[in-house]
């Protein structure tokens, strides 16, 4: 047990910090504005976790993400407004409906690969956006959907104050992170990553690539749908712009800043990006230019994102100490660069014949 704790100490420290900071933030937050930024950031982070599963773990660059976010938001909003459904019914229904649509979309789009998949999912995102915008009688079109109710109280728990809404979203974020962490550290996560690494090799090993892509897509859509539903009852107004590709690209940026295929990445990236966005308010419409520049720099120089690069650094440092302990760290810079490649020379030969 102790060794388990030791091995995962960064993880436990991470979770501890998240929990403590997350809980005390509303108490110490200097103003209420920060609280709204954090709440919205958490909602976006949940959607980015969904995207991470598809883009990060499965390696499929899906650009329909905001479409699913909008679908979840509108479904929940409409169910509450038009059918008077309770939030606690509307939210899971929105998530399930988003999931079902995603599976249908996946069945079509996973027949393609590479650029074709990217373009196809971009188109699907655009179609969802157009349906939302043009189906005036249902969605209110460009005028949007106004007056979506707050989440219904659970017993004595009400969600009228900013603080309570913040905590509600925070709980959903924690659930999302827990699920993503479980996926990531299980055989399922390994399966997804193997598909990202090489579909050909994965299928040769007996892994059903199509099924696993669909499964990942469905899980991702489920959480994105939840994020949408939370957004609907938090902002209480929906316009078709929440389903445009602009938002998809922002999600993608958040993911790249934080680090794809990591459990902490989506949250870290979304929070960093939210802080930057707030401090760039003065730049107005030039914000996207700055973001664009950041995207180029990240992809070019820090492909692992904040979390990925930190992890690489950690590996390097441990490797350095291990080699120093073992006494075979090359002394000078560049010394024995070929030796640095840990080969299996004649040493391995005895093994084959030995057994």
């Amino acid at each position: 047990m102790l060794s388990f704790l030791k091995e995962h100490k960064f993880k436990f420290i991470g979770y501890g910090l998240l929990l403590i900071i997350g809980i005390i933030f509303p108490i110490v937050s200097p103003n209420r504005y920060y609280l709204t930024v954090a709440t919205l950031g958490f909602i976006y982070a949940i959607a980015v976790y969904g995207l991470n599963l598809i883009v990060g773990y499965l390696g499929q660059l899906s650009l329909a993400q905001a479409g699913f976010f909008g679908l979840g938001a509108y479904t929940s909003g409409l169910l509450m407004l038009k059918l008077d459904l309770n939030f606690w019914l509307a939210l899971p229904l929105a998530a399930i409906i988003t999931t079902i649509l995603a599976v249908l979309v996946g069945l079509i789009s996973f027949r393609t690969k590479g650029h074709y998949f990217v373009i196809l999912t971009l188109c699907i995102g655009v179609i969802i956006n157009l349906v939302i915008e043009k189906w005036d009688s249902l969605t209110g079109g460009v005028r949007g959907l106004i007056g979506i109710p707050l989440p219904n109280p659970i017993g004595p728990l009400e969600f009228k104050t900013l603080e309570s809404q913040y905590y509600l979203v925070f709980v959903f974020l924690l659930i999302t992170i827990y699920v993503m962490n479980r996926i990531s550290s299980s055989l399922l996560g390994r399966t997804f990553r193997s598909i990202r690494n090489s579909e050909d090799l994965a299928s040769t090993l007996g892994i059903n690539v199509m099924y696993n892509k669909l499964l990942g897509f469905a899980i991702a859509a489920f959480f994105t749908g939840i994020a949408g539903a939370l957004y609907a009852s938090y902002i209480r107004f929906l316009g078709p712009e929440i389903s445009t590709h602009h938002l998809t690209f922002e999600f993608l940026l958040f993911l790249l800043i934080g680090g794809q295929a990591t459990v902490a990445g989506p949250l870290v990236g979304t929070l960093i990006a939210s802080v930057i966005t707030e401090s760039l308010q003065f730049a107005q419409e030039y914000r996207m230019v700055i973001f664009g520049l950041m995207l180029i720099l990240i992809v070019r120089f820090f492909p692992g994102g904040a979390v990925g690069e930190a992890r690489k650094l950690k590996v390097k440092v441990t490797d350095f100490y291990n080699r120093r302990k073992a006494g075979n760290y090359p002394s000078g810079p560049g010394a024995g660069s070929s030796k640095g490649k840990l080969g299996v020379p004649s040493k391995g030969e005895s093994h084959v014949t030995k057994n």
Binding site: S186, L187, R190, S194, T204, L205, I207, G343
Partner: protein
């Protein structure tokens, strides 16, 4: 009979890479496929491992027709393979490569993962144990925590074989396992292949290194321009007129 192909044909546009090939592999055999470059050897592997669909003809495995199954089902039925260019999961460690190789033998799904069910724990242990067993078998156990990018080419080749072995195949297809490694390493590899056969796995091998083929194989099929031009024991094949012709007087025998 373990595997049987009938009139197996594969066209790439106008090119017939494989032309009506009839071939049988019996359980427990060690067979080899030889032929000049571009003869269709790899294509034959790609078709019988479900990687490509044949243009026509049938494949039977353990008496059942499997011609139109999806790729992953070939592996599940017991056909394991390596690729001519070493294919590994380059992002991960030696051990992690083999762990995922055992995934098709496990059943845990999404809910097992999120609730950390007993089944998911049991299967994760199973995968780890199987991976270590194979690492021991291929002689890479002490390198288990190395990133794949940091092991030598020869080790990578053995790992690729290990990756095929971890799926517990009945039939193992090895595409030029000895390409690009030196003489001593080739001997080791031949020993490993022999050991695989002795453990009860049927092996089919594509190889240009004639000495190795002649020593190992019990039966050889020779392909040329996608057509089977000869089949028989190493001795029969090496004395076959058409084979000698195809190899331009047998320069490659040296």
């Amino acid at each position: 009979m373990l595997l049987k192909t009938e009139h197996l044909t594969k066209n790439f546009g106008g090119l017939t890479a494989l032309n009506k090939v009839d071939f049988e592999i019996n359980e427990g055999e060690l067979v080899a496929i030889i032929g000049p470059n571009g003869a269709g050897k790899s294509t034959f592997f790609n078709v019988i491992s479900g990687f490509y669909r044949p243009s026509s003809g049938t494949i039977k495995f353990m008496g059942k027709e499997i011609t139109n199954l999806e790729t992953h089902n070939f592996a599940r039925l017991g056909i394991g393979r390596t690729f001519q260019t070493t294919h590994l999961f380059t992002d991960s460690t030696v051990l992690d490569n083999l762990i995922i190789g055992y995934r098709s033998k496990t059943k845990m799904g999404f809910f097992d993962a999120i609730f950390y069910s007993p089944r998911s724990r049991r299967e994760e242990n199973m995968c780890r144990e199987k991976a270590e067993e194979i690492l021991d078998f291929i002689g890479l156990l002490e390198f288990k925590n190395y990133p794949v990018a940091n092991i030598s080419q020869e080790a990578a080749k053995r790992l690729a074989i290990g990756l095929a072995l971890v799926t517990e195949p009945r039939l193992l297809l090895l595409d030029e396992p000895a390409a690009g490694i030196n003489h001593g390493e080739t001997t080791n590899l031949a020993n490993l292949i022999k050991k695989i056969q002795q453990s009860g796995i049927t092996v089919c091998l594509i190889e240009h290194k004639m000495k190795m083929v002649m020593n190992l194989a019990e039966k050889i099929m020779v392909l040329n321009y996608g057509t089977k031009i000869a089949e028989g024991t190493p001795k029969e094949v090496s004395e076959n007129e058409r084979v000698i012709e195809a190899y331009l007087g047998g320069v490659e025998h040296a």
